[in-house]
Symmetry: C2
Subunit: 235 residues, 2 copies
DNA sequence: GACCTTATAGTCAGCATGACACTAAGATTC
DNA sequence: GAATCTTAGTGTCATGCTGACTATAAGGTC
């Protein structure tokens, strides 16, 4: 915790997204936050995070945050940004300066619905985020922007789904993330054309309407979504 | 330089791109590298960088690298990625562990053509990068990927140009970055449609062919290219 | 003045997208 | 068991963007 002059502390934090059921029954993007138990920002909500362990990769530290906060495995984990503004640690200039390397992650909806909550860990819907410690509101905002951006050109949405899923479920994920409804026919057309998904041949029954086809991911699509960096990232 | 157990050193490095004239007269992407003057990787070429100064923002440190290496001001400066693999500092496990926050920058071609070179600072064309220290080859590769990617959906190319420029000059920048020729007519059509550029009304004369119109940037386009993060970034 | 070179305009076909209509197939209701 | 409700899935059409390509404009060079 101490630091010598000119040194900075390095921390890793994680913005963890899941879809969680809302009051109306619909699902909404939510993130888990932890309550701070020390100054500065005592009692304020903050992103889960902590120092980097010796011999631990940055992404491992992020996965460890995620594990200890939510007890879940990430379906998707990617570096977001490094925040290092000299006065982001609070007004107090005597306080340790902290550079945070922030990751963002997706966890499956099923698992997340049953995730632990406690006095000091609470899930917040993204449209109900309170005032957070440090610059964490900005970080969350940026993570949301990245998620919304990335959903439109990559397959991240699948991080919220099960092994097999209907196109309506997939569409619903897009709709929640993007905050708008999508035309079912057009959505089907573009997803099928993308080749990211393959029909299983099975159908989902018991739905009070025509039984939809079940799909799964096309694993041949893992490749080159992040360019040359496919090392520390969870797929 | 020393560190206590579990601590890591934090460094900021910068991949600096410029267009520089090649043997054949054409221009090519090039980056300046510095020769290491200590172990590990003594005498190897490496990205310019160094520790973060107290009270200095990350982007300021990157700009400082750039300044001290090339004596130039960046036209564009953006965070690239934070590299923190535990054994990226060389095989020696007793060596200090270093997490590098890497920025990438563009500098103007005119200035860069006259930039200093010395025994320990040398510009390399991107297709002639030697074996570098640490994981710097990977970093350069990723920076190139980002540049090529970003050129197609943002206005970064302008970082290489003067205040006013012809569409042929702009197209040439795209061609060098993307490594392929572009149809002049189609290029003009799409650039004009994008609205990122405005005709000055002036023309460039003395060209041994029909005098081309001069353009400049449309400053109304600064906005929201990076989403919510428009703080430490140079425009 | 003929000719060379690039600037700039225009045309056309292919492809992706948004809006929207229509049929299919199950469960539910009466 | 027929009518009805709901979503699944197909098809159509207009629009806009893109690549390929043609043609004309307007300077300089010889």
């Amino acid at each position: 915790m101490n630091k010598t002059e000119g040194q900075v502390d390095l921390a890793v934090s994680t913005v963890i997204f899941a879809l969680r059921p809302q009051a109306g029954g619909s699902r909404q993007l939510a993130i888990p936050l932890v309550r701070r138990i020390r100054e500065p920002y005592l009692d304020a909500w903050a992103l889960p995070g902590g120092p980097l362990e010796r011999d631990e990769d940055l992404s491992e530290a992020a996965a460890r945050n995620l594990q200890s906060t939510t007890n879940l495995e990430p379906r998707f984990l990617e570096q977001l940004y490094a925040f290092g503004d000299p006065d982001r640690s609070g007004g107090d200039s005597s306080a340790a300066r902290v550079v945070s390397i922030v990751y963002w992650a997706l966890v499956g909806s099923e698992e997340a619905a049953a995730a632990v909550e406690s006095e000091n860990v609470h899930w917040f819907f993204v449209d109900e985020i309170p005032q957070l410690a440090f610059d964490h509101n900005l970080i969350v905002e940026y993570a949301l922007w990245r998620l919304r951006n990335k959903v439109s050109y990559s397959r991240v949405a699948h991080g919220f789904l099960n092994e097999v899923f209907t196109l309506a479920e997939l569409r619903s994920v897009y709709e929640v993330i993007l905050g708008k409804t999508l035309d079912p026919g057009n959505f089907r057309r573009s997803v099928e054309a993308s080749g990211t998904v393959v029909a299983t041949g099975e159908r989902l029954s018991g739905t009070s309407h025509r039984p939809p086809q079940l799909y799964r991911y096309n694993d041949a699509f893992e490749l080159s979504e992040n360019g040359p960096l496919t090392r520390g990232e969870k797929k």
